[in-house]
C-alpha cells in the first residue's frame, strides 16, 4: 500500500549506524524520532505502524519509537498524527540498528490525510490468523458505503442481499449467525441469523475495517465460526482542540441524499478528556435496475453516537452510546401468495408490480432500531501489562411488516407480522501481560445474557433467554524469524425457549459446553517471503430459528420447520498463507480447508406443506459434515509512482461430506481488478486519482439440483469507475470523490441475491461524496 502525502515531507536525515556486535543476522532494530518540521520539536503520541508486522506503537515524549526484532529487507513505515500530514516510507534494513528521523508537516485544517488504523484494539498483532485490513484510503474515499459494500474488495468476501437496501457479508461461504461483527469493539447483537436481516450500523461511523477469516473463537467466542469483522471508529484525537468533518453523499440510482456530521475534541494534559460524536441521516428512494424501477425499495435511516474518553496517567475510562434506526422497503413484487405465484414471478422477465420512482416506503417493510451503550475501563500496569474491563448493553428491535390481505380490519394492518425485541448484556475482563521471555499473551473472561421477546402476529422465533460464559488464554511467542501462537477457550452456553400454548408456558432448555483452540506459526524464509500456517477450531450452538422455527416465510414461498434435535456445529479450519513483499509488488496467496462437523443447513422434504393458500416446499433443518475449501489471492503492482494495479480472486468449493454433493447458496467464484492512476498535483487540484475496477463473477455451476426454485443465474461482469481530488478554496480543503457503479448498466442477477427470483440487481449509479474537514480550534502541543 502506497500512501502519498500532499505536501512535501522531508526525511531530514537517514543515518545508518553499524553495530559491531553481530550476534544474529536478519534481526534488526529501528529507532525512529518524529519531529515537527516547523520548530523541530519532538512530537508525542505519533502513530507508527509497520503493516507487514501488524505492528503499532506511539512515540514517547521525546518523539522516539524503538522497534526490535525486525527481519530486515524492505520495511514500510507509516507515520500519522492528528494535525499533521501523514507520511509513509519504505526503507531497506540491512544493518542491525537503523535510525530514522521523520519530520511531519502540520496541516491545520487539512485533517483527512491522517492514516487511521484499528489500534484501539489491544490484541492487535497477537493473532497469526489470516487478517485482512481494508485500505483506510479506500474507506475514506467511499465513506457512506455500507460495511458489506466496502468488504467486497477483499478476496473471499461476497454479499448476501435481499433487494438493493439489505445486505450482509459472506466470508468463505459463511454468513449470519456464523460471523461475528464487532462495532467499536462491542459484539453487535441483532437478529443476525436472518437471511434478510442486514447490519444495523451507521455506515459513516467507521474508518477502519479488518476481517479475520476462518474460526476465531478464542478472542471472540462462539459464533465466530466463519470469521470476524471488526469495524472501528476514528481513534481519539491526540492533540488538544476541537475539529470535525461534514460528509455528504448523493446517488442517482435511488436518489440517495445522506449526510453526516462528525465532531471530536480533546482537552486537558494531565487529566485528558477526549470525545467524539456523530449524527447521520440517509434517505433514498426506489432503486432502479437496468430496465425498471425496483418499487418499494426506498429507505430512510438515521443515527447518533457519542463516545467520551478520560485518561489520567495509566487509567483510561471510555463511555459510549449509539443509536441507529432504519426503515427499509422490501421489493413489492417479492410479496407473493404461494409457490404457484413464485413460479409465475420467475417466468416473468420483469417484476409484476412496477410503479414510478418515489421515496415512499409501503408494506412490506422492516423497521429497525439498534441501541448500544458501552463502558470500558483500561488500566496500564507499570510493567507494560494491562487490564481491560468492558460492559455493554444492546437493545435491538426488529419489526417486519407484510402486505396485509385486503380483507383484514384496519387496526391489525398496522401490526407487525414479526416483532422481535432482543436485549443483550455483555461483560468482558481481559488481562494482557507484557512481553516475558519473548512471549506476549491475553487471558480473559466473558459473559453474556441475552433475551428475546417475539410479539408480532407470527412467532418467527420463540422467546428465549441465553447465557454464555467463556474463559480463554492466548500466548504468542516470537523469536528471530519465527513467531508462534496458541490459544484455548472454554465456553458454557445455556439457552431456553419459552412458548405459551393454551395459557401454559412451555420452556425448552438446552445447554452446551465446548472447548475451542487455535494455533499458528509464521516464518520469514527471507527478507521478502513469509509463510504462515494456522489451525483453529470453533463452534456454535444451533440457533433458535434452526431449532424451533415453524411457519411460512413471507417473501419467499417456503415453509420452515425447525429441528429440536440439532447438535452443536463445529469447525476445524486449516490454512496456509504465502506472502511476498517486494519493493514494487506484493502478493498474498492462501489455501484453506474448513472441515465442519454437524454443519446446519436446510433442505426441502419430498412432501410439501398443504395450506389453504396452496402448497409450499417444506424446508427442514438438518445437519451433516461439510467441507469448505478454497484458494484466495490478492496482489498489487506499483509500476510507477502514478500507476498501480491490484487484483483479488477467491475460489470456494463447498460439499456435503455425507453425500459428496455441493452445498446450496455458495457464492460463485469471483475476480476483481483495480487499475489506479494517481497524481499529487494536477492543475489546481491535489491528490487526484482515477480508478477503473472490473469485477468478474462466474456462474455457480456447483449446486444441488432440484432444491432451489431456479438454477443459479449466469455469470456477469461489472465495471466501476472511481475518481476524486482535493480542492483548496482559501484555506478550506474539500475532498471530492465520484463513483460510477455498473458503468454499462448491465442487467444481472446475483446468485446470493434473494430478490433474484423477482427482479434484476441495480443498474448504473453515479455517486458523489464530499468531505469537508473543519477545525473549531486547535492548540499546539
Amino acid at each position: 500500500m502506497l500512501k502519498k502525502t500532499l505536501t512535501t515531507i522531508i526525511v531530514f536525515a537517514l543515518s545508518w549506524l553499524l553495530c559491531n556486535v553481530s550476534v544474529a543476522q536478519n534481526i534488526h532494530s529501528l529507532n525512529i524520532v518524529v519531529l515537527d518540521s516547523n520548530n523541530l520539536l519532538p512530537l508525542e503520541a505519533v502513530s507508527i505502524t509497520l503493516p507487514q508486522y501488524h505492528y503499532y506503537k506511539q512515540s514517547n515524549e521525546k518523539g522516539e519509537v524503538k522497534i526490535d526484532s525486525l527481519l530486515g529487507g524492505w520495511t514500510t513505515i507509516q507515520c500519522s498524527f492528528v494535525g499533521y500530514n501523514p507520511y509513509t516510507t519504505s526503507i531497506y534494513l540491512d544493518k542491525k540498528n537503523t535510525s530514522l528521523k521523520i519530520l511531519l508537516c502540520p496541516l491545520h485544517t487539512h485533517l483527512h490525510e491522517v492514516e487511521i488504523f484499528a489500534h484501539t484494539d489491544e490484541t492487535e498483532g497477537l493473532s497469526i490468523q489470516n487478517k485482512n485490513k481494508i485500505d483506510p484510503l479506500w474507506i475514506e474515499r467511499n465513506i457512506g458505503n455500507t460495511i458489506t459494500d466496502l468488504l467486497k474488495i477483499l478476496p473471499g468476501v461476497s454479499v448476501l442481499s435481499s433487494g438493493p437496501n439489505i445486505s450482509k457479508p459472506i466470508i468463505r461461504g459463511m454468513y449470519g449467525a456464523r460471523l461475528v461483527v464487532l462495532n467499536n469493539n462491542i459484539k453487535q447483537e441483532g437478529q443476525q441469523w436472518g437471511e434478510e436481516h442486514g447490519l444495523e450500523i451507521d455506515p459513516f461511523s467507521g474508518t477502519a475495517i479488518e476481517v479475520i477469516k476462518g474460526a476465531a473463537a478464542i478472542e471472540y467466542g462462539a459464533n465466530s465460526i466463519g470469521g470476524v469483522i471488526k469495524y472501528q471508529p476514528k481513534p481519539f484525537k491526540t492533540s488538544n482542540g476541537i475539529n470535525g468533518m461534514v460528509l455528504m453523499n448523493g446517488a442517482t440510482n435511488n436518489g440517495l441524499a445522506s449526510g453526516s456530521l462528525f465532531v471530536e475534541g480533546k482537552s486537558g494534559n494531565k487529566h485528558q478528556l477526549s470525545w467524539r460524536t456523530q449524527a447521520t441521516f440517509r434517505k433514498a428512494g426506489d432503486a432502479r435496475a437496468a430496465d425498471y424501477v425496483l418499487s418499494n425499495t426506498a429507505f430512510t435511516d438515521y443515527g447518533i453516537n457519542y463516545t467520551i474518553h478520560y485518561q489520567y496517567k495509566n487509567f483510561h475510562f471510555e463511555g459510549s452510546q449509539s443509536i441507529w434506526r432504519s426503515s427499509l422497503g422490501i421489493l413489492r413484487a417479492a410479496h407473493i401468495g404461494n409457490i404457484t405465484d413464485l413460479y409465475a414471478a420467475i417466468k416473468n422477465k420483469q417484476p409484476a408490480y412496477i410503479a414510478p420512482f418515489g421515496y415512499k416506503i409501503e408494506n412490506p417493510k422492516q423497521e429497525l432500531a439498534h441501541v448500544v451503550s458501552g463502558l470500558k475501563i483500561h488500566y496500564e500496569l507499570l510493567n507494560g501489562s494491562q487490564i481491560v474491563i468492558q460492559y455493554s448493553f444492546q437493545d435491538n428491535n426488529r419489526e417486519e411488516y407484510d402486505r396485509p390481505p385486503q380483507w383484514s380490519s384496519s387496526v391489525n394492518n398496522q401490526r407487525a407480522l414479526y416483532d422481535l425485541h432482543l436485549t443483550t448484556s455483555l461483560a468482558e475482563l481481559k488481562f494482557e501481560h507484557a512481553k516475558w521471555r519473548n512471549t506476549k499473551g491475553v487471558w480473559g473472561l466473558s459473559w453474556m445474557n441475552q433475551g428475546n421477546v417475539s410479539s408480532g402476529i407470527l412467532p418467527l422465533i420463540p422467546n428465549y433467554r441465553l447465557y454464555n460464559s467463556g474463559i480463554y488464554a492466548i500466548e504468542k511467542w516470537q523469536h528471530k524469524k519465527i513467531s508462534a501462537e496458541a490459544g484455548i477457550r472454554y465456553d458454557w452456553l445455556n439457552q431456553t425457549a419459552y412458548t405459551r400454548t393454551n395459557n401454559s408456558i412451555i420452556s425448552k432448555p438446552n445447554a452446551y459446553a465446548y472447548v475451542s483452540f487455535s494455533s499458528g506459526i509464521a516464518y520469514w524464509i527471507n527478507e521478502s517471503l513469509k509463510i504462515q500456517g494456522n489451525i483453529a477450531s470453533s463452534w456454535r450452538a444451533p440457533n433458535m430459528n434452526e431449532l424451533y422455527s415453524n411457519g411460512l416465510h413471507s417473501g419467499i414461498g417456503a415453509y420452515e420447520t425447525g429441528n429440536e434435535n440439532l447438535k452443536t456445529e463445529s469447525s476445524i479450519n486449516k490454512e496456509i498463507t504465502f506472502s511476498v513483499i517486494k519493493n514494487t509488488w506484493q502478493s498474498d496467496f492462501s489455501i484453506f480447508r474448513n472441515d465442519m462437523k454437524q454443519y446446519i443447513y436446510k433442505e426441502p422434504l419430498a412432501q410439501p406443506v398443504v395450506t389453504i393458500r396452496g402448497s409450499f416446499p417444506n424446508f427442514v433443518y438438518k445437519q451433516n459434515d461439510a467441507v469448505f475449501s478454497g484458494v484466495e489471492y490478492s496482489g498489487k503492482i506499483n509500476w510507477s509512482k502514478s500507476w498501480n494495479l491490484s487484483a483479488q480472486a477467491g475460489l470456494l468449493y463447498a460439499i456435503n461430506a455425507d453425500n459428496n454433493l455441493p452445498l446450496i447458496f455458495i457464492p460463485a467464484n469471483r475476480v476483481s481488478l483495480m487499475l489506479t492512476y494517481q497524481k499529487e498535483e494536477f492543475w489546481k487540484l491535489n491528490d487526484v486519482y482515477i480508478q477503473f475496477a472490473p469485477t468478474f463473477v462466474a456462474h455457480q455451476s456447483r449446486y444441488p439440483s432440484g432444491i432451489d426454485f431456479i438454477p443459479p443465474p449466469p455469470a456477469y461482469n461489472l465495471y466501476a469507475l472511481h475518481f476524486g481530488f482535493d480542492t483548496h478554496l482559501k484555506k478550506q480543503h474539500i475532498h471530492w470523490n465520484f463513483s460510477i457503479q455498473n458503468l454499462l448498466n448491465t442487467s444481472y442477477r446475483d446468485y446470493l441475491s434473494r430478490s433474484r427470483y423477482f427482479a434484476d440487481d441495480t443498474g448504473i449509479n453515479f455517486i458523489l461524496r464530499i468531505s469537508v474537514p473543519f477545525s473549531i480550534y486547535q492548540t499546539k502541543q
Binding site: 407473493i336 409484476a352 408490480y353 380483507w407 421477546v453 402476529i457 419459552y498 412458548t499 405459551r500 406443506v609
Partner: protein, 197 residues
C-alpha cells in the same frame, strides 16, 4: 415524526425499564391471525328450490393455519342431471366471533377474483359458470357465486372421481384482468365425486 422524537428521548434518558410482558420468560400466545381457515361451498338447486335433496356443504378447513394439523377436506359430491347453484363462504374460525371473510372479499370485489379449474375428466360433464361481476368497466368476474351444471346429453360410466381447484387472486396495485395475479390468497383442491342421480 413524534414517534421518532419519543424514541430518541427514551434512549437518551437511558431508561431500561423492563415491563413484565417484555420478559422472555413470559411469552405471549400468537393465535389471532388475519387468515382464511375455512372455505365452504354451499350448494342448492338452481331450477328447483324445492329440491332439498341436492343441497350440500363441502368444507376445506385448516383451523390451525399452515403446518400443524393436516387440513380436513370434504369431497364435493355431485349428482348428474342437476343445475347446482353454489355460494362460496370464507371464514376465519380463529376469531371470536367467527370472521366471515367472504363478506370482505365481496366489499373488495374489484381487486379480487376466484378462479375455478375442474380436472380434465370432468370437463365435458360439469359446466361451471361464474354469476357475479364487479364494478370495473367492463365488469370482470368475482366468483363468490357460481353454477355447476351436470345436465349433459352424452352418456358415460359413473362414478367419476375428479377434482375442483379454487384459487383466489388479489390484485394489489396491479390492474385486475382475466388472468390470475401474482398474489394468491387462497388455493385449495376439492376432490369431486360425480355420481348417478
Amino acid at each position: 415524526m413524534i414517534k421518532h422524537v419519543l424514541f430518541l428521548a427514551s434512549i437518551l434518558t437511558f431508561a431500561a425499564c423492563n415491563k413484565t410482558d417484555e420478559l422472555p420468560e413470559n411469552p405471549k400466545e400468537h393465535n389471532e391471525q388475519e387468515m382464511i381457515t375455512t372455505i365452504q361451498l354451499i350448494g342448492g338447486v338452481m331450477d328447483n328450490s324445492n329440491d332439498t335433496l341436492h343441497h350440500f356443504t363441502a368444507t376445506w378447513s385448516d383451523p390451525d393455519g399452515a403446518g400443524g394439523n393436516l387440513p380436513t377436506i370434504d369431497t364435493l359430491v355431485l349428482d348428474t342431471g342437476v343445475f347446482y347453484w353454489v355460494n362460496v363462504v370464507l371464514l376465519n374460525t380463529t376469531k371470536n366471533p367467527i370472521d366471515t371473510i367472504s363478506n370482505e372479499v365481496y366489499e373488495e370485489r374489484n381487486v379480487h377474483q376466484f378462479f375455478y379449474t375442474l380436472s380434465e375428466n370432468l370437463e365435458n360433464k360439469v359446466k361451471l359458470n361464474i354469476l357475479d361481476f364487479d364494478n370495473n368497466t367492463p365488469p370482470l368476474p368475482v366468483g363468490l357465486s357460481i353454477t355447476l351444471n351436470t345436465k349433459t346429453n352424452t352418456t358415460y360410466s359413473l362414478p367419476i372421481l375428479g377434482s375442483l381447484r379454487v384459487q383466489l387472486s388479489h390484485y394489489d396495485g396491479v390492474p385486475k384482468t382475466n388472468a390470475p395475479s401474482n398474489e394468491t390468497d387462497l388455493d385449495v383442491v376439492f376432490p369431486v365425486k360425480l355420481r348417478d342421480r
